[in-house]
Symmetry: C2
C-alpha cells in the first residue's frame, strides 16, 4: 500500500521489470516519525536513505555559533538523508527533523548495493535522481546571486509544490538565505497580485 | 592515447567489459581550448559534457551586477559542463574558460544516451560520479558556514590536488567566497608552519 507512491515515482523516471520492482519493494522498510522528532542526528552512523510517503521534514546544519542552516525540505515524493554519511561512512553532520507526522520508506546501504547488482535499472533511477538534485543545488547557489527574493520564492514553490502553509515563513527564509521580513513582504505582494 | 587517463578513471570506479570501453571511446571527440578562450558561453545550446585530459578551466556565473562567481574549477580527471543546459535543454548560464591550454574529451547528449542503453555499466559510472559531485557541493555550502578560511582552503586543496600555483589567489578566494586578503594570510601562515 505504502509502496504505491514510490513505485509511481520510479516508473516516471525508468522502465523497470516487475521482478525489479518486487526486489526493490522487498528491501523497503516503513518508518514513522512524529512531528518534532528526529530521523537523523549529527555524529551518528547513517545506514539508510529515505523516501517520503507522507509528511514534511527539514534537514539542517547547526554551525559552530549554533545557527541553524536549512539545507533541504522534503515532502511527498522526495528522497532525503545525509548522503555524505550514507555513502562515505563518515559521521552525520545533519539534523533531519519531522515538521509534520511523517511516513517514510527506508532502504539500507547493503540492500541498495544488492539492488544495484541484481536490478541495474535502479542505477539509472538513482543516476537520474541525483543528477537532477545536483542541478537543483547548483541552481540554488546561482539563484542566491543576483536574484530577487520574489524570484527565489517562486523557484522554491516550483521545487516544493503544495508546501505553502506547511512550513513556517521563517524556515523558508532561512533556507532561501533571506530575512523573514523581506520574504513576508514578497509573499504579501504576490498574494495581492493574484487577487487582482 | 588521449583516452588512457579517462579509461583509468572509469576503471577506478566501475568494472567495464572491453566492449563497453570500446563503445565509450568510439563516442569521444578530442577538443582543444587555448588559454583565455571559452568552452561554453551563456545563452547557448550545450550538447556536450567534457572530461579534462590536460589543463585547467574555470566555470563561472556573471550575476546581474556583472560580478563573477566561480562555481567550479576543473583540472585533469574532472568532468565539467553546464549540466542544467546539457540535461534539460535550457540555454546555458555559465562561462567555462580555459585558464591554461587545455585538452578535453567530449561526449554528446545522444551518444551518451546510446551508451547508457548499450553499456549500462556507464549508468553506474555516472551515478557514482554525480553522487560524489552532489556530496561535494553540499559540503562546500556547509563549509561556507562556520568554517575558517584555513579549513576551507585545506578542503579545497584536497578536492583539487596540484592546483596550487595554477590558479591565481583571487580566483580561489572568489570560489571559496572569502576575501583575497584573508586567503593570502591563511596561505602564508600554512607555508610558515610547513617550514618549521
Amino acid at each position: 500500500m505504502t509502496h504505491e507512491l514510490l513505485i509511481a515515482h520510479v516508473k516516471k523516471l525508468v522502465d523497470p521489470r516487475p521482478e525489479d520492482l518486487n526486489l526493490f519493494t522487498s528491501k523497503l522498510r516503513e518508518v514513522v516519525v512524529t512531528k518534532g522528532k528526529f530521523l537523523i542526528q549529527p555524529d551518528t552512523h547513517v545506514n539508510h536513505e529515505y523516501f517520503v510517503v507522507k509528511g514534511c521534514l527539514s534537514a539542517y546544519y547547526l554551525d559552530k555559533k549554533g545557527n541553524k542552516n536549512i539545507v533541504q525540505f522534503a515532502i511527498e515524493n522526495w528522497w532525503l538523508g545525509d548522503f555524505d554519511a550514507f555513502y562515505n561512512g563518515v559521521p552525520s553532520k545533519l539534523h533531519i527533523e519531522a515538521l509534520e507526522d511523517s511516513t517514510l520508506l527506508a532502504i539500507n546501504y547493503d540492500d541498495l548495493q544488492i539492488l544495484f547488482q541484481q536490478a541495474p535499472i535502479f542505477e539509472r533511477y538513482f543516476r537520474v535522481l541525483v543528477t537532477s538534485a545536483f542541478i537543483s543545488l547548483r541552481k540554488r547557489i546561482l539563484s542566491s546571486l543576483g536574484k530577487s527574493v520574489k524570484e527565489r520564492y517562486v523557484e522554491f514553490c516550483e521545487s516544493y509544490p503544495n508546501i505553502e502553509g506547511r512550513v513556517p515563513n521563517y524556515q523558508i527564509a532561512n533556507y532561501l538565505g533571506v530575512s523573514a521580513e523581506s520574504l513576508s513582504r514578497a509573499r504579501r505582494k504576490m498574494r495581492a497580485l493574484k487577487k487582482t
